[in-house]
């Protein structure tokens, strides 16, 4: 069956790229990872390729590999706040969506709501948000308010640890609910500037949200008027049932990590099952219209035109790092044509798009925008440019009315 739906492509930006030795690649800019110019250049490059959106990774803790934090002087350590980085690059771009990561654990939902709403204002309708939990005790110590159990790859299935993680996702779902309610707490036409009555705002169109949950209570309304998109786009990364359910409750997009085309079929089924389990399927999603979760597969990509060159490049980086690179998603090294084949094949599993994680920056991003995108266009599988102005429009998500508006669905 020929695929008629539009293919969505996002790029995931993180430091010098996803390979831990990427900063040592020719063309890398390791001395500029904390400068605005570096991030603005990456954003402009992604926009030149007409990609749907970019994501920016973030964490409340320092990068780590293995048990100890900060123990590798030969790898990138340190990062900037992703929401602020997204805001800093917004004025340098006009079309690409900006989806920073921001943590829901330890943080205030009220601030998250205003910061993403503000990103939507400064980008004129291009904001998204990737909510993320912070499960480790190390991150909890940064705040000194909660004690979390130790977390290792081995103990995540222990009942106590599993319950802890499940709680964090429940808390995250509450945080997203509060954030969405606050986005809705000003109706779109609340500002009236009515001179005869002396009123700037119609207070009947400002709403208390009165959320009272297990972790926090928030009264509202927001201090920030309803953002241009009404509800900026929420996207979350998920590898298992609990986060699938979180995505089904809270998100518009879920990033998943299939190892193969067949695995992608299974994961899409699991995502649909999660939607059913939380009651999303067949009715309005969480404040975001009736759309089912859009499912994007994450892939780390190494791309070069010459056959075998990308794989060789990855091996060189592996050698520099002293270990074969492995991560939470599949790693693909190939030519633009090979990668195009893979994307178009995998999407038959029911995927709506892909979030490509460049192995090395800016090289693999440039390969996406200058080689992969043209290859997909030649096959009639990717847009020739941007037609829409807001991120929601591009993703075919209708702009929802405020839930507090009289007559809202």
């Amino acid at each position: 069956m020929p695929e008629t739906r539009e293919l969505h492509l996002a790029v995931a930006l993180d430091g010098a790229g996803w390979h831990p030795a990427a900063w040592r690649s020719p063309g890398a800019r390791p001395g500029e990872l904390f400068s605005a110019g570096y991030w603005a250049d990456l954003a402009r490059e992604a926009e030149a390729g007409a990609l749907d959106f970019l994501t920016i990774e973030d964490s409340l803790g320092l990068q780590r590999r293995g048990p100890r934090v900060g123990d590798r002087g030969d790898q990138v350590r340190g990062r900037l706040d992703a929401v602020l980085t997204a805001a800093r690059i917004a004025p340098h771009t006009t079309r690409i969506g900006l989806v920073p990561t921001a943590v829901t654990t330890h943080t205030e939902p009220f601030h998250l709501s205003t910061s993403i709403a503000t990103l939507d204002y400064v980008s004129e309708g291009r904001a998204g948000w990737r909510p993320r939990v912070a499960a480790s005790p190390e991150e909890a110590w940064h705040f000194g308010r909660r004690e979390f159990p130790p977390l290792t790859p081995e103990n995540v299935t222990d009942p106590a640890v599993a319950a802890h993680l499940s709680d964090l996702f429940d808390e995250a779902a509450d945080a997203v609910e509060v954030v969405r309610r606050l986005w809705d707490s000003w109706e779109d036409d609340a500002v009236i500037r009515d001179e005869p009555s002396g009123r700037f705002v119609d207070r009947d169109k400002l709403h208390y949200i009165d959320f009272d949950g297990r972790w926090f209570a928030v009264r509202g309304p927001s201090i920030t008027p309803r953002p241009p998109q009404g509800q900026p786009v929420v996207a979350s990364l998920a590898h298992a049932e609990v986060p699938y359910r979180f995505a089904a409750r809270a998100s518009d997009i879920v990033f998943v990590t299939p190892a193969s085309a067949g695995h992608a079929v299974t994961i899409v089924q699991e995502v649909r099952a999660a939607e059913l389990a939380v009651g999303r399927a067949g009715r309005a999603g969480p404040g975001s219209g009736a759309a089912p979760l859009a499912v994007y597969a994450d892939l780390v990509v190494f791309i070069d035109e010459a056959p075998g060159a990308a794989a060789a490049r990855k091996r060189r980086l592996d050698d520099l790092d002293g270990a074969e690179f492995a991560t939470d998603c599949a790693i693909v090294a190939g030519t633009p044509a090979e990668l195009a084949d893979l994307l178009l094949g995998w999407r038959q599993a029911g995927l709506d798009g892909f979030r490509l994680r460049p192995g090395a920056l800016p090289h693999d991003l440039e390969q996406i925008t200058r080689a992969l995108v043209p290859e997909l266009r030649r096959r009639g599988a990717f847009r020739s440019g941007y037609a829409e102005s807001t991120l929601r429009e591009r993703l075919a998500l209708p702009r929802p009315a405020s839930r507090y508006q009289i007559g809202a669905a």
């Binding site: 900063w23 900060g70 002087g73 205030e108 004129e124 705040f143 928030v218």
Partner: protein, 460 residues
């Protein structure tokens, strides 16, 4: 030596000073408004752009206040975007120490400092109230004494975090395979006090200013002392010449006990202004603006803030209430600091004044509230500003226009050149400098030095 004037550009706030009914009044939330004011300030070579913050919509008599401009962005997020449309301008954000954690605030200001090339300013405010706290996880009320102790510890915690990476920790040398220098400190921190117990690894490497410039807003004794031991500048309401001189002398006299020189703390009053081609023209414009700022509805509302009761049945063009306020009644205003210490005395004074001059409620309110700090020709305003600075009534002003977004345009075009002519204001930005350099604050003083000076004095 001739002092140089410091100028800040305050984005108009959510109060009746900001006129929304004027045909020139633009959006209070569109990014273009923030970009416009910031670009004007940079074209006028201002030191910094300034944003206030309020984390709950104000209420009066249990209802959301609807007469003034309302609705504003997240402070840090909009400043990060303003960094993209400016090159030299400092970026000052007001952030509550109460409804945030040091780790987050340190991360955000260090990030802003990186992304702006050393232009970040934190205006610390600490006015916890249970009303605002209803929007937050940790909204608990702190009494006034505790709040400055916690705030001082909070700022100290952020200083420790900002220093937690060695300045030369990142070498990014691919040939040697060293991203960071072996043995360098990379974010390790521990801070334990009465109010905080935090430790771990800070994610943001040392930023260009190391410590963003710290301002303190608040004129109380506790606020002044906090500024003396923990801040680089103080944002004050004392904008008039005489009040400014007394305030300035008091604040600067507090510095020695913390081992600081008088010029290490900048005194920066907020100030409004009206310009005109002639003194009479300026006066006429000022009267017009005051009437825009005090609508009939606003006049009644401001009267209620003193009488502390519903006066909506009164006519703003008619006489004042014949009765006194009830000081025992619960406050009708929430989301804003209490404005009058002795409302009965204020009410009697206002009534006497209204009777004496035959003023209506609206005229009375215009008479007694919020007169513009500077009204005059560009030449007279430049002279007044310079006099206040040279005579130690302040070190400069944070100017608050009454119109969004163009309210600073005229000042930048007409007053700034006159200050330059007097040799008291820069004629260009010096390349490659941080805001800290530009303000003459010198390199960031180490966290340990701040802490030692503060605790020695407290213990003594």
């Amino acid at each position: 030596m001739t002092k140089q004037v410091i100028l800040g550009a305050h984005f108009p706030g959510v109060n009746n000073h900001t006129v929304w009914s004027d045909p020139e009044a633009g959006s209070q939330i569109a990014f273009s408004s923030f970009a416009h004011l910031a670009r004007t300030a940079e074209a006028g070579l201002f030191d910094f752009f300034f944003l206030a913050e309020g984390l709950r919509l104000r209420e009066q008599r249990g209802k959301i206040h609807d007469l003034d401009v309302v609705g504003r962005p997240n402070t840090m997020t909009v400043l990060a975007a303003v960094a993209a449309v400016t090159e030299h301008l400092g970026l000052a954000g007001t952030i509550q120490a109460t409804y945030n954690e040091p780790y987050e605030i340190a991360r955000q200001f260090a990030t802003l400092d990186h992304l702006s090339g050393g232009r970040a300013v934190w205006n610390v405010v600490t006015s916890p109230d249970a009303f605002t706290g209803e929007n937050f996880r940790h909204g608990g009320y702190l009494d006034r004494g505790d709040r400055y102790v916690r705030a001082a510890e909070f700022v100290q915690a952020t200083r420790e975090l900002w220093e937690s990476w060695d300045g030369d920790a990142i070498v990014a040398d691919p040939a040697r395979g060293e991203f960071s220098r072996p043995g360098a400190r990379r974010g390790r921190f521990e801070y334990r006090t009465e109010n905080f117990g935090i430790s771990g690894n800070f994610t943001v490497p040392r930023s260009p200013q190391v410590h963003p410039v710290i301002l303190q807003a608040g004129d109380s004794d506790g606020g002044r002392e906090f500024a003396a031991h923990s801040a680089d500048g103080i944002f004050t309401r004392h904008s008039t010449y005489d009040a400014g001189r007394a305030f300035y002398a008091d604040v600067k006299s507090r510095l020695a006990r913390y081992g600081r020189s008088p010029d290490s703390l900048k005194v920066l009053p907020g100030a409004s202004f009206v310009l005109g081609d002639t003194p009479a023209d300026a006066e006429e414009r000022a009267r017009h603006i005051r009437r825009q700022q005090v609508s009939p509805q606003t006049a009644i509302l401001m009267l209620e803030q003193v009488w502390n009761t519903d006066l909506s049945s009164f006519d703003a063009e008619g006489p004042l209430p014949p009765f006194d306020p009830d000081p025992e009644a619960p406050s009708i205003i929430q989301g804003r600091a209490r404005m009058y210490d002795d409302p009965v005395a204020v009410a009697r004074k206002w009534r006497a004044l209204a009777e004496e001059k035959s003023l209506s409620i609206r005229d009375l309110i215009i008479e007694v509230t919020g007169r513009q700090t500077f009204t005059g020709t560009p030449a007279s305003v430049a002279a007044e500003i310079n006099r206040s600075v040279q005579d130690d009534a302040c070190d400069g002003f944070i100017l608050v226009p009454h119109l969004i977004p163009a309210g600073l345009d005229e000042f930048a075009a007409t007053v700034v050149p006159l200050l330059q002519e007097r040799g008291v204001f820069r004629s260009s930005y010096e390349e490659g400098t941080t805001l800290r350099d530009r303000l003459g604050l010198g390199p960031a003083r180490p966290a340990a030095s701040w802490a030692a000076a503060r605790t020695e004095h407290v213990d003594a």
